[in-house]
């Protein structure tokens, strides 16, 4: 006789098979639908080109006609100014077109108007000058326009765009095209200490909103001719400059090609911040983990590209993007390398354990209190019982109340004006916490857990990684509330299985842990002495593996 199990066993085993299949199917459908909504590609069928009346028009060479055309296309803008004058020594009329507040007025006054009006064309050269459109252009370029940044074009559209972007336009009678002189001199701020990534030791320079300055900062930092700065124009409507930076002889070419193709495929009207770029070119939209790292620190960017990574700068934001990202990077700080290796390793270990606390402490608290009271040491258990006598809520609700109020406080702290911030922190943290305990809503033990969690999450050097851990912490708390420690472990496995599958630009997110590469562990949880760190991380497959060669 065979043993035939009861029908319930069959049902259970069918469920065991079906549920994962269903789960995979649902997540795949979800991923596909999201991918189709936020597609990198332009939808071909809807690809309607914006009609531009200017695109085909070019300069005629007739001064009055050209001037009228310019005025028609730009004069309705209140900030566009036309300054007409005559070039000294000739009868040529000229007009300078510029945008107030954006164009460099010093440059216009002293290098455009001054030479043309004061010096002009001497008697001897007059004939050469007036010969043709080309001769006027050549003479101006070689004798009169004492500026470095000079562009020439016959089409009207780039000229209008250039003027509106802050260059000064120059139109001269008898010339068949337009000059664009100089670049925008919009308002910019000083180079300051990066606010979101302050360090005690190391350079106190942060990026600004001007891409030119940022590129300059990088050049200043890494004086190496191997550094490539590849320029792209992104944004379908508002054109923005984007620069891809990498080390020509270090970075893996496949990686660069992949990034290049993703940037080219990106389609959006206006990438306002590098966050837009990050979200448009990342691998997994559904993952809670960031796959590009944002930073304000030039030294971080240099460090990354020296390891064989690449970085993206976008005009108008002080945040550069570093890719590919591995999980360990989010818990590492440049300071680890500036300090000696013992203190660097210690701080790094501290940060890893703090990240663990920030993620798991409240959920462990909930599962110990609500499910596994036997796992608490007896004397501690007794004092917890005593402190929790008469509390109205189960630990999950209690923990949610306190964690949510801490998150609200943190969010409020960002918005508050600087002088009120600390006062608010004291009111929120100390007074509310104390009052909640006294009112018998939460137990004092939970306050400790919540405080430790909040402080731990501030030790994470990358702010957005901290947000990820906060979100996951709440999920872990729900799991702990429903299943206890079993749920926490299941959630841990869920995160692990997700992280193992996650890739950032082809690099496994958990490397060098998975896939296991012991050589790279020298710079993982422990930061080995620099004398040992002779090799670049192998996970990035760099062209030049040795840090010591030049």
């Amino acid at each position: 006789m065979f043993y035939i199990p009861k029908w319930s066993v069959f049902v259970q085993s069918t469920l065991v098979i079906l549920i994962p299949i269903l789960f995979v199917w649902v997540s795949r459908r979800l991923r596909d639908s999201i991918r189709s909504v936020f597609s990198l590609h332009l939808d071909k069928s809807k690809n309607v080109k914006r009609e531009s009346s200017l695109s085909e028009i070019s300069g005629t060479g007739q001064y009055d006609q050209d001037l009228q055309m310019l005025q028609e296309s730009m004069a309705h803008n209140a900030d566009v100014h036309f300054r007409e004058f005559t070039i000294r020594g000739t009868s040529c009329r000229a007009v300078v077109v510029y945008v107030e507040g954006l164009a460099n007025s010093n440059l216009i006054d002293s290098h455009l108007i001054a030479p043309l009006m004061r010096e002009g064309v001497p008697e001897a050269d007059r004939e050469d000058f007036e010969q043709s459109s080309e001769s006027i252009q050549a003479y101006l370029e070689s004798h009169l326009l004492t500026v470095s940044h000079l562009r020439w074009g016959e089409k009207l559209q780039p000229f209008v765009q250039g003027v509106l972007n802050g260059s000064s336009g120059l139109l001269i009678e008898g010339m068949k095209g337009f000059f664009l002189v100089g670049m925008a001199k919009g308002k910019s701020r000083n180079v300051e200490d990066p606010i979101s990534e302050a360090l005690l030791r190391g350079p106190r320079i942060g990026f600004t909103e001007r891409i030119g300055e940022n590129m300059g900062l990088l050049r200043m930092h890494g004086k190496d001719e191997g550094m490539v700065m590849k320029k792209y124009e992104v944004g379908t409507r508002v054109k923005k400059e984007l620069v891809l930076i990498y080390m020509k002889d270090i970075a893996n070419q496949e990686l660069i090609n992949e990034i290049d193709s993703r940037i080219r495929r990106m389609a959006i009207d206006d990438p306002m911040d590098s966050g837009y770029i990050e979200q448009l070119i990342e691998d997994s939209t559904l993952s809670p983990f960031q796959q590009l790292q944002n930073t304000e620190r030039p030294d971080r960017v240099i460090g990354a590209i020296l390891e064989g990574r690449a970085a993206i700068l976008l005009d108008g934001t002080p945040f550069a993007l570093i890719m590919p990202v591995t999980f360990s990077m989010l818990l590492q700080s440049p300071e680890d390398y500036y300090e000696r290796w013992i203190s660097g390793s210690f701080v790094r270990l501290l940060r890893f354990s703090a990240a663990f606390l920030a993620l798991w402490a409240p959920s462990l608290y909930i599962s110990f209190i609500s499910y596994h009271s036997g796992m608490i040491p007896t004397s501690l258990a007794l004092s917890i019982v005593e402190s929790r006598q008469g509390l109205p809520f189960p630990s999950i609700i209690e923990a949610f109340i306190m964690e949510l109020s801490i998150e609200i406080l943190r969010e409020a702290g960002i918005r508050l004006p600087k002088p009120i911030g600390p006062a608010m922190g004291i009111v929120g943290g100390l007074i509310i916490g104390d009052a909640a305990v006294n009112a018998g809503i939460v137990s004092p033990f939970l306050i400790i857990v919540v405080a430790v969690t909040a402080i731990s999450s501030f030790t994470i050097p990358v702010y957005s990684a901290g947000i990820t851990l906060r979100i996951l912490r709440f999920t872990a708390m729900i799991f702990a509330g429903i299943f206890g420690l079993y749920g926490v472990i299941m959630f841990f496995l869920l995160i692990c299985s997700h992280l193992v599958k996650l890739r950032s630009f082809g690099i496994p997110y958990l490397s060098p842990l998975v896939p296991y590469r012991f050589r790279d562990w020298k710079d993982y949880v422990i930061r080995s002495p620099l004398k040992i760190l002779k090799q670049r991380p192998a996970m990035l497959n760099p062209r030049d593996k040795d840090r010591r060669t030049n």
């Binding site: 979800l30 639908s33 209190i369 019982v385 189960p394």
Partner: protein, 402 residues
């Protein structure tokens, strides 16, 4: 159906999966009664039970065992009343003793649910105290059967025997002190006093009970509401029942061979009756079983080093002379030999049990012989000749000057 609706439905189903599951294993820590001590006595219904019985509060049972559970902290009554007196059974302190009588320990535990709201949880049980009376009537295997089986109770829980009533041992006069914790921590003083037996946990007890070997358990007496560790209770392997006690001095004598690290003292008297004391710094003992044919005998060799730490004689003994020193050493040796001899005599001739682990030595060194003798080892042990030799050396006299 539009795409957004479809995604919305999918998300709803996923969320439903989570929120429709219940928190089924959920038991908040404050909603449980954590009992940390357990006392087992011969059944005698308490006043409460008698009164309840008169009003018809009873169920079919025999009064075999009275169970005392020590619950800490004393519960919500204490929180409200501040330092007020806790409810029935205890006299002050942050614990609460509750008693019920019955014939099945689990049923008695469940019966507690009729009395106080939070259910009893044995996860933090630290000490089980059995009264010698109960252990005399029932074997340890019977008494502890439920406790061995219960999967809440940890194996590291300690087991002790009380000379009097176990419920009295679980009381304390000192406010704020929890008797169960005191009993649990008592064996930590062993490095100061060798009259304390090594702790016996539930695992070790079960081991001994199942292998039917004799063993000793810490004996506790209580006086004026305070516990006092006094001597050892002897459990005979054959029946697993209590057969008698060893006095403090005998436990001290036996400790030469049962303990690995000694931290005690040896006191003896000079010829004119003044006390002199030897502090043991280290000691090593070797029990050598000698088997020749069917004859088994044991040879015990003990050597110890220590210091002369106290001397009441007048005038002081001048230890410079080696002859004096030797005489002193002989005195101490004689005292130790007397204590050990007395203990061995009691084990062999009064209780006829091997509670000191001689059988274990045979089992290790002569496993074949052990197989033959193990079934009635206690009887054989009673007639085995044991010779012992103690060598004590005084190596210093403390830090006092001449």
């Amino acid at each position: 159906m539009s795409r957004t609706m479809r995604i919305g439905l999918m998300l709803t189903f996923i969320v439903l999966q989570v929120i429709t599951t219940g928190c089924w294993g959920h038991r908040e820590i404050e909603d449980q009664s954590v009992y940390i001590g357990l006392g087992l006595d011969v059944g005698s219904p308490s006043k409460f039970e008698q009164e309840a019985n008169e009003q018809g509060g009873h169920y079919p049972k025999m009064n075999t065992v009275t169970v005392t559970v020590q619950i800490a902290p004393a519960g919500s009554s204490q929180k409200q009343g501040g330092q007020g007196s806790p409810s029935s059974g205890s006299q002050g302190g942050s614990y609460q003793n509750q008693q019920l009588t019955g014939d099945s320990i689990l049923q008695v535990f469940r019966q507690f649910a009729l009395r106080n709201e939070p259910p009893l949880v044995g996860l933090h049980l630290k000490v089980v105290v059995v009264s010698s009376e109960l252990a005399k009537q029932y074997g340890m295997g019977q008494i502890f059967d439920f406790i061995f089986r219960d999967n809440d109770i940890r194996e590291s829980c300690l087991v002790m025997i009380s000379h009097g009533k176990a419920s009295e041992v679980l009381n304390s006069q000192h406010p704020g002190e929890i008797p169960a914790f005191r009993l649990r921590d008592a064996h930590r003083n062993r490095y100061r006093n060798q009259k304390i037996l090594p702790p016996v946990t539930l695992v070790m007890l079960e081991n001994n009970v199942r292998s039917k070997s004799s063993f000793m358990l810490q004996n506790i007496v209580s006086a004026e509401g305070e516990q006092y560790l006094s001597g050892a209770a002897i459990i005979k392997g054959e029946t697993n029942k209590w057969v008698g006690e060893l006095s403090e001095a005998e436990v001290e004598g036996l400790s030469w061979i049962t303990e690995k690290k000694l931290g005690g003292v040896v006191k003896t008297y000079t010829i004119d009756g003044r006390a002199i004391t030897y502090e043991i710094k280290n000691a090593s003992a070797k029990v050598v079983p000698i088997v020749s044919g069917d004859d088994i005998s044991f040879q015990i060799k003990i050597s110890s080093e220590g210091r002369l730490i106290e001397d009441w004689s007048q005038p002081d003994i001048t230890p410079q002379q080696t002859t004096v020193l030797q005489k002193l050493e002989e005195k101490f040796e004689e005292q130790a030999r007397k204590q050990l001899g007395q203990a061995l005599y009691k084990l062999q001739n009064v209780y006829h049990t091997d509670a000191a682990g001689f059988g274990e030595q045979i089992r290790i060194s002569h496993p074949k012989v052990w197989k033959k003798v193990k079934d009635n080892w206690d009887d054989i042990f009673s007639h085995v000749p044991i010779s012992y030799d103690i060598k004590m050396t005084i190596i210093d006299y403390g830090s006092s000057k001449e």
